[in-house]
Structure formats: C-alpha cells, structure tokens
C-alpha cells in the first residue's frame, strides 16, 4: 500500500505552514498560491451557492433579466412545494431501497469471491481471477440490449430486480479485485489458528476475516452507494412506471421539456439540494474511505 493522500498531508499541512520544508519544495509564492486556491474554491462552490439562491427565488424571479445573484425575497416554501411537485419522498424511498440492497449484495458477494480467490486453494483459481478482472474492461453498454430482452422475457421489466439482482451476483469485478488484494495482505497464520480451534471457512470468513477487512468493505460500500445512487442509464432503460423511478430518473424527467412547458427551476433547485444531501453526508462522515478507495485504485498498479 502506498501512502494515502489524507494521512500524509493532514498532520503536517496545518502545523508546518510557515516552515520551509526540505521535503516538498514550494513551486510558487504564498500569495499566488492563495489567489489560485481562492479561484479553485470559487469555481467549485459558487455553482452550488447559486443553486441554493435559485431554490429560494420565486418561480418568476428566476427569469428576471439580467439574472440577479441574490433573491429579492426568500421563498422558503419552495423547499416544501418543490419536493411535493417532484414526488421527492417517493423517489427518495425508491432510491434508498434500491441502493441499500445493491450495496449489500455487491459488497457481500465481492468479499466472498475475494476470500476464495485469495485464501483458498482450488483448481481454476487463477482462471477465474483473470476472467473477473478481464470483465472490468467490458463496457457496460454491451449488456444493455441482451439483458433488456432477457429481463423482459422473464417478467423483470419495470421492476427493481434488474437494478438489484446483478449486485448479488458479484456485480462489480473491481470490488472482487479490491477484496482479493486486501485478503492477500492478511497473514495466513490467522487462518491456521482459527482452523486449529475448529472453525470452518464460513466461521473464519464471518468472524475473523470480516472484522479484519473493515476498511476494505467500507470503501466498497461507499463506491457501491455512489454507483447505485448516481445510476441513470439502467433505471432509465429498465423502469417504465414513474412511481418506481429512483431519484436520478425522476429528477431528470422533471426538467426535461415536454409539452412545451417550461420546467419550474426554483422548485427543481430546492429539491436538487435535498437530492445532494445523502451523498454529502456519507462523504463527510467517511471522507477517509472515499479517498482511500480511489487511492487504492492507483496504488494497485504502483508496486
């Protein structure tokens, strides 16, 4: 494992700001650094602040010319009427169920496969590993049309099953790869000891391995959460009824122009903020794992 961004920087950054470090030379002066930092921060934050001000404007003030940065009067009711118009509670419930189940399935089956590939000896172990890893290169779109027809023929079209069941069948090969890497790093003497105590593979997996690999599956759970919460193409293709839609499709459909009606942007932006909150909360609660997950992607190729 290589050094991960947060751990290396966090402690030193805040304390040693003035001392010129012999380790990392400064490329630019302090003033210009802060000017650029301010610019970067503005580019990232201003669109979000603007979204909130749109969410607070009245339906007509949104179209004032020239556009004003701050609303004249704060229309707090957008935060109630907007979600109602978009059926936000329904969409949120759908997204929550779909995401929770696919996170559970994706992490569980990847951990199981990773355990077998890393710690059990069986014929075909290498072959399956390469097949799983190789399937990472397969673009998802290849499956779209054949699976659409398959789901249709077994009555899964317009149900949540196409969004959930694949996760329970080792859905993400990247997770299998990550799980295997983590399992490989655990000393084998631990299994030996557990085996002598009479534990079978299931016991070793659940009560020895799972606690030891906590960072691995938390990272995977976060990646799986993001993937499912953000998925747009699959629910768009597999779900027809609007009352089954997750947030991604429901939100997007609210602003797609149809029947010549202009979308209600202030309602939309107020609701958009609510849509962003769950991932934001997860991010700030588990920031370390977010960075770790992506860092591990990088470090696996860097030995």
């Amino acid at each position: 494992m290589t050094t991960l961004p947060t751990e290396a920087a966090e402690g030193t950054v805040l304390t040693a700001q003035t001392a010129r470090s012999p380790k990392k030379p400064r490329l630019i002066g302090t003033t210009s650094w802060y000017v650029v930092a301010l610019f970067i921060s503005a580019v990232m934050v201003v669109p979000l602040l603007w979204m909130i001000t749109i969410g607070l404007k009245s339906r007509t003030a949104v179209f004032d010319l020239p556009p004003k940065l701050l609303p004249h009067e704060f229309t707090w009711s957008n935060f109630v009427n907007g979600p109602e118009a978009i059926h936000f509670p329904r969409l949120l419930l759908n997204s929550t169920i779909i995401t929770a189940l696919s996170v559970l399935g994706g992490v569980m089956t990847a951990m199981m496969a990773g355990y077998a590939l890393a710690r059990l000896r069986f014929p075909g172990r290498k072959v399956w590993f390469y097949l799983f890893v190789g399937s990472m290169l397969l673009p998802g779109v290849v499956g779209l049309i054949p699976l659409f027809q398959l789901y249709k023929s077994i009555g899964w079209y317009d149900t949540w099953l196409p969004l959930i069941v694949p996760a329970f069948l080792g859905g993400n090969p990247l997770f299998i790869f990550l799980a295997r890497q983590y399992f490989l790093a655990i000393p084998y003497s631990i299994d030996e000891a557990a085996k002598i105590d009479g534990a079978g593979h299931f016991r070793i997996f659940t009560s020895v391995m799972l606690p030891l690999t906590r960072p691995a599956w938390i990272t995977m759970a976060i990646l799986a959460f993001q993937a499912s919460w953000n998925d747009f193409l699959n629910p768009l293709v597999y779900l027809y009824s609007s009352n089954k839609w997750p947030l991604s499709v429901g939100m997007a459909s609210f602003i797609s122009p149809f029947a010549g009606k202009t979308p209600d942007w202030s309602y939309y932006m107020a609701t958009n903020l609510l849509y962003m909150l769950p991932p934001l909360i997860v991010f700030f609660a588990a920031q370390r794992y977010f960075i770790q997950g992506l860092g591990s992607l990088g470090s696996t190729t860097q030995k």
Binding site: P139, G170, H201, F232, L233, G298
Partner: protein, 308 residues
C-alpha cells in the same frame, strides 16, 4: 469442521475446493449471465434485424453496411464521440495533475481546497448536470451573467452548434477532482529522497517535473489515459440531459445514438439489432484504445523492472 482437520491433507483440500466454489458461486453465475451471455447474444444481435417483438432476422453484415454507408447520423455521432474524447481526456489529465500538484503543497487550508475540488465528484451526477444546464442557459444562466459583468464575450453554449460540445466537456471537467485525487495518491508515493537529491544537484522546477515527477507517476498516468478514454467513449449522462444530441448532431455521441435506436420514444420501432451493431463499433473502439495505449506505453512510461 472437525472432519476436515481429521482427514489430513487430501480431505482438507477437498473441503477447500467445495468451500471455494460455494464462496465464488454468485460471482461465477453473475459472470455467466451478465458477461458471457450478453457478449455472445449482442454479437449475434448485431448481425440481425430485430425489433424486440418478433424473432431476429439474420442479415449478416447488413447493419454495419447501413451504418458506414447509408445512415446520415452515424458519422456525425462518431465525430462527436471523437471530439469529446480529444477535448476531454487531455484537459482532464492536465487539469487533474495540475490540481494534484497544487494540492500537494504545504499551505494552511490546502485540505479545504482539496475537499472542495473533490466535492463535485461526490454529488449525484444528475444533480450537477442539471445544475449546469441552468448555469449554461444563455439568458438567465450564471455563466453568461458572470462573463458579461467581466466584460468577456458570452455564448449560446448548449444552443450553439460550435460551442455545444465544449460546453458539455466543461460540465464534465467540473468533476476533475476525481482525476486529481488519483494523481495526488501517485504524487505522494514518490520517494522524497529523489527530490532532495535533485535539489542538491541544483535541478530546476521544470527538470524536477520532467525527470522525476513524470517518470515516477507514469504508470498511473497510463492507467488514467486508459480509464478516462474508455469512460469518455461511453459518455451518456451529460449529452443526454444537457442537449439530447442537439443542436443538429453536434453532441449526438455514439452512446446517445445507441440509446435512441434501441430505446426510442413510444410509437417508434426499436432497432435492437442495429443498435447492437453500434455497440460493437463502440466496443471495438474501446479495445483498440486499450491495445494501442498499452502497446505504446513502453515509450513513455517508466518502470523499475528491466524489460525482458
């Protein structure tokens, strides 16, 4: 499992095999159903005329002939895809690396900048794309308002045939924090002794960058080139929501064209065979990118293993 421990080596191995296959059974079933089956089936469908209701009719290479010679939308969609990749991938890599180097320095508040730069990656893609759709609105959008106030030229952005693709790429680049974080991990893995030695030898910033930083992070750069290019080739969400391919075919990328042919609006007949042929064009493009990048990687990546 008392029996396994009593049975000695062979018994133990037997129980290992059984357990192993129980543990990877879900993944194997998934691999068969969601990888092997679609791969074979989609190749077959690419050679057929298929509306999803009646049986597929075998037409050989007819779909491909129609794609390359008849369909007025195909070449523009290929061009739009190529334009998107050529515009997005280099910019994403350069900005991502620049941002990573910027955030890899010791300043108070660097952590805040890093978190903010990563923030758009965390937010739901649909939420940010729709937000940008409104920011890019020529009349009431934020971008033109800011440009106008700064005395800079404004644009029709998504409504302009020439600016629509750059605008789509701009929206994608707002998520450059994802690239940054991977480069940041790579930068922090570079041993400090290398920098110290270079400093002692009196190397300037540029030569440090080109002779130490770049060679050391080149394996990650290679991975990034492959991942970003294959992802960019499959871009769907941004053009679907921002423009739906308009104006003209300017942002009608291959993925969008596949979607429109395979899953058209109600009342139109789905062309699943034809869309599958397009999928295979995309698939071949992706394989070609991976193969070419990997083949020429030895020219510009550094490896501390001596080549065989």
């Amino acid at each position: 499992m008392s029996r396994a421990s009593r049975g000695g080596m062979s018994r133990n191995a037997g129980s290992d095999i059984k357990a192993a296959y129980l543990f990877i059974a879900p993944a194997i079933i998934g691999f068969t159903v969601f990888v092997v089956y679609p791969l074979v089936r989609s190749f077959y469908l690419a050679l057929t005329k298929y509306n999803g209701l009646t049986d597929p009719i075998f037409v050989g290479l007819g779909n491909f002939r129609r794609l390359f010679t008849v369909d007025p939308a195909f070449w523009p969609s290929l061009r739009a895809t190529g334009y998107l990749v050529v515009l997005y991938v280099p910019l994403s890599l350069i900005l991502g690396l620049a941002l990573a180097m910027f955030c890899n320095q010791r300043f108070a508040g660097v952590r805040v900048v890093r978190t903010l730069a990563y923030l758009p990656v965390v937010l739901p893609a649909i939420a940010t794309i729709t937000l940008w759709k409104f920011i890019l609105d020529p009349q009431v959008g934020l971008l033109n308002a800011v440009l106008d106030r700064l005395g800079l030229p404004t644009s029709l952005w998504l409504q302009s045939p020439s600016m629509s693709m750059p605008a789509v790429v701009l929206v994608m680049l707002w998520g450059v924090g994802g690239t940054m974080i991977i480069f940041l991990a790579a930068l922090q893995a570079v041993p400090n002794e290398l920098y110290e030695a270079a400093r002692v030898d009196g190397a300037g910033s540029w030569s440090v960058f080109f002779r130490i930083t770049m060679p050391m992070i080149s394996p990650i750069m290679l991975l990034q080139v492959i991942l970003q290019t294959t992802a960019a080739l499959q871009t769907f969400n941004q053009p679907k929501i921002l423009t739906n391919g308009a104006p003209g075919f300017s942002t009608n990328v291959l993925m969008l064209s596949i979607y429109k042919n395979g899953f058209p609006n109600l009342g139109q007949i789905p062309q699943l065979g034809y869309a599958s042929a397009q999928v295979w064009v995309l698939f071949v493009l992706i394989i070609a990118v991976i193969a070419l990048t990997a083949k020429f990687s030895s020219l510009w990546t550094y490896s501390d293993n001596t080549p065989d």
